[in-house]
């Protein structure tokens, strides 16, 4: 597609429920990133993939968060046993290549509300 696609756009989960958020990056983009954005704040880094390899997951807030990109394209961010503090917008971004001189293309995000 022309841009980064995320689904669902909105997700309401009951506390304790597991959720899965999907990201379709731009075709051919090697790098894929997940960010978490709380209301009124800037995005916070969660994890980074280069192709199918998860090179950095140091931003994941707890072991309830898990991300994968098995074929180096679509990525899924899974949150187990959701808690109210997980409520945020989850943004996915992709970049053409590894390297520092590329801007990122962001999706519109998934707004997760845990009730």
């Amino acid at each position: 597609g022309a841009g980064v696609s995320q689904s669902p756009r909105y997700k309401v989960a009951k506390r304790g429920q597991d959720v899965a958020l999907r990201c379709d990056p731009i075709s051919g983009h090697v790098s894929l990133f997940w960010y978490q954005q709380a209301l009124g704040q800037g995005p916070e880094f969660l994890t980074y993939f280069q192709n199918e390899a998860q090179l950095d997951k140091s931003g994941l807030p707890s072991d309830r968060f898990f991300a994968e990109r098995p074929e180096g394209s679509v990525s899924t961010l899974k949150i187990q046993r959701t808690q109210q503090e997980d409520s945020a917008v989850y943004l996915c971004a992709s970049s053409l290549a590894w390297g520092q001189d590329y801007g990122y293309t962001f999706g519109s995000g998934t707004r997760l509300t845990v009730v």
Binding site: Q6, S31, P43, L91, Y104, G107
Partner: protein, 110 residues
């Protein structure tokens, strides 16, 4: 702590005026990027400036970078109502983790 922190101000300007916002950071960087975010949408990449560059232009945007002061500014000239958005600076220290500031809300009044 976050790299990239904008002056935490909300700007409200008339259409046609210029809008300037600033960003400061704490450690050395490889590049600094500015993004725009409209309400309820994802971030849009505006401009990237490398650490060895001092100024860069893109259309109505002008970005400056002062590495000695660890600061950057974004100027939007001849603002339009469509420029109403939040603007974020983000620093890249070469580890593929962009560190974002809290954002600067700009409202352009038609």
């Amino acid at each position: 702590s976050q790299q990239g922190e904008e002056d935490p101000q909300a700007l409200s300007i008339q259409e046609g005026e210029n809008a300037t916002m600033n960003c400061s950071y704490k450690t050395s960087i490889n590049n600094l990027q500015w993004y725009r975010q409209n309400s309820g949408r994802g971030l849009v990449h505006l401009i990237l400036i490398r650490s060895n560059e001092r100024e860069k232009h893109s259309g109505r945007l002008r970005v400056t970078l002062d590495t000695s002061k660890k600061s950057s500014s974004l100027l939007i000239t001849a603002s339009r109502a469509a420029d109403t958005a939040s603007y974020f600076c983000a620093t890249n220290r070469g580890n593929n983790r962009l560190a974002f500031g809290k954002g600067n809300q700009v409202v352009v009044i038609p």
